[in-house]
């Protein structure tokens, strides 16, 4: 059974006044009396706790910079908790920024294997999904061309097809896929919804409130890194909008 437990999760980002971290800065700070004054901590996620059960379709709403994406990245293990913990059961497919790890010099086919391996797929799985990914992305004629020659749409199609090729237990979405022409979008939406239907847990961040209400059975509202409200989609969305 897949599940997610977020317990007292806090993610701190050190904020540097000077972005260039250099040795000079370090040595000069040694001589400063108060070394902790070197940077302030920014609490992107501030002591959040919630649980997600099998069957849940959880939506996360909040303003830009509220900490929604940081929270998603913590669930995907990209950011380690500064305090608290995240316990997950089940395979996770993060669709945060698809196409991470594509190498421009490599062909589409080589990138299926390279990026697939980074996403945690096995060689056997990749061999099996390769023809389907190529067919879905409609790149049969260009699959052996280096991806640096691809158009943005071609690139997005390949990345989308690959990252949605295997059904995960837990699906994590940062905004619903948006790219490609109308025909591909329709096809992509269909594939996305079938993935959502088959996943045990779905967590989605979106600013599309009608989508939230149609897709989710539960919504949480985050502001300044804190959990403000948690409940039925209609209720939370209307409170959020009237706030």
């Amino acid at each position: 059974m897949s599940s997610i437990q977020v317990k007292n999760l806090t993610i701190k980002f050190p904020v540097y006044n000077d972005q260039a971290h250099s040795l000079k800065e370090y040595f000069s700070s040694i001589f400063k009396r108060d070394r902790s004054a070197r940077h302030d901590d920014y609490l992107a996620v501030n002591n959040i706790s919630f649980g997600v059960n099998p069957g849940d379709r959880l939506g996360i709403i909040g303003k830009n910079g509220a900490g929604k994406s940081t929270l998603l990245k913590a669930i995907c293990r990209i950011y380690e908790p500064s305090e608290g913990e995240v316990i997950t059961n089940g395979t996770i497919a993060p669709m945060l920024e698809i196409g991470a790890g594509f190498h421009p010099e490599f062909s589409g086919r080589e990138n299926i294997y390279l990026n697939g391996a980074i996403l945690g797929y096995t060689k056997k799985q990749l061999k099996k999904i390769e023809p389907e990914v190529i067919a879905f992305s409609e790149l049969e004629d260009f699959i052996d061309t280096p991806v640096k020659h691809y158009s943005t749409g071609m690139y997005m199609r390949l990345a989308f097809a690959l990252s949605t090729a295997i059904n995960p237990d837990i699906l994590i979405l940062d905004e619903i896929f948006n790219g490609g022409d109308a025909k591909f979008m329709a096809k992509a939406k269909k594939r996305m919804y079938s993935l959502i239907d088959q996943a045990s847990i779905v967590i989605v961040v979106s600013h599309d409130h009608s989508l939230m209400q149609s897709l989710c059975n539960r919504v949480i509202w985050i502001d300044h890194g804190k959990l403000i409200d948690d409940g039925a989609p209609e209720q939370i969305v209307s409170r959020y909008l009237s706030a």
């Binding site: 701190k12 980002f13 050190p14 260039a20 971290h21 250099s22 040795l23 000079k24 370090y26 990245k73 995907c76 293990r77 990209i78 950011y79 380690e80 993060p94 945060l96 920024e97 991470a100 790890g101 190498h103 010099e105 490599f106 294997y113 390279l114 391996a117 980074i118 996403l119 945690g120 797929y121 096995t122 060689k123």
Partner: protein, 262 residues
């Protein structure tokens, strides 16, 4: 700590296919779209060593063939060590995009560099070895020791690479420092000369240089046709183990924090 080390290797094992893809990516990219392709692994050290052999043998007034064999024994380990160190130091910052978008055990980046370069080094070693044999190298039982030499050198270089990969995230200056330090270290390592040839303060530095015994580890079988001295073997084994342990210690203590500094 030991559970952390165990976990480090377990995670790498789980991502072994990604590791092999990254190693493969390195090997392919270096030579893709070059007319001679992988042949460059052989050609570039060969040309490099030929130039050095000609220049330094006439400078030192020594026999070209003897010097070439001597130089080969020193350059093989040095080239591997210095490339691993230089490339590892930028291995994490070069993969920032990936590290911030998807979970992947971070040790995979310095490890893939140490492994990719090891494959390169073994290929160029084998190819150059036949040329050296023709010039006057020795074929002896001592050569059987070379796998151990490569293993010890790999561990040492990987350990230093782990430390520098982390250090460079925190202080980008290390990219520049590494380049300069390697250049200085080249002259403090007995590659062009016999150890013991330099005395005084500089000689002390040469004998304190941790890379020095690794040169002997290769030179004994290749040039003298013998097994390396037991002291050298003990010394390098100790340095390799300590370096890898320190490297892992530093890497593991920062592995989960450095993403906030990228």
């Amino acid at each position: 700590m030991s559970s952390k080390v165990w976990n480090f290797f377990f995670e790498l094992y789980k991502f072994r296919y990604a590791l092999s893809q990254l190693v493969f990516q390195q090997l392919i990219l270096r030579y893709r779209r070059t007319a001679l392709g992988y042949l460059w692994t052989l050609l570039s050290p060969l040309l490099m060593m030929s130039v050095m052999a000609v220049v330094f043998s006439s400078l030192f007034k020594s026999d070209l063939k003897t010097f070439a064999v001597f130089l080969f024994g020193g350059m093989i380990p040095w080239t591997y060590f210095s490339s691993v160190v230089a490339q590892s130091s930028s291995s994490l910052i070069n993969n920032e995009g990936m590290i911030k978008k998807v979970y992947i055990p971070k040790g995979i980046f310095p490890l893939s560099i140490a492994l990719g370069l090891l494959i390169d080094s073994l290929f160029s070693f084998v190819a150059l070895f036949f040329i050296i044999l023709a010039v006057g190298g020795t074929l002896s039982l001592g050569l059987l020791f070379l796998p151990v030499s490569f293993l010890l050198l790999f561990l040492f270089s990987f350990g230093v690479g782990l430390i520098l990969s982390i250090a460079t995230v925190f202080f980008r200056d290390f990219q520049h420092i590494t380049t300069i330090a390697l250049q200085g270290l080249f002259f403090l390592t007995p590659i062009l000369y016999q150890p013991g040839l330099i005395d005084g303060k500089l000689g002390l530095l040469v004998s304190l240089n941790p890379v020095t015994p690794y040169i002997a580890l290769f030179r004994a079988p290749l040039v003298d046709g013998s097994f390396p001295d037991i002291h050298i073997l003990i010394q390098t084994t100790a340095i390799s183990i300590v370096t890898v342990l320190i490297g892992l210690l530093i890497f593991l203590s920062q592995e989960k924090k450095f993403i906030f500094r990228m």
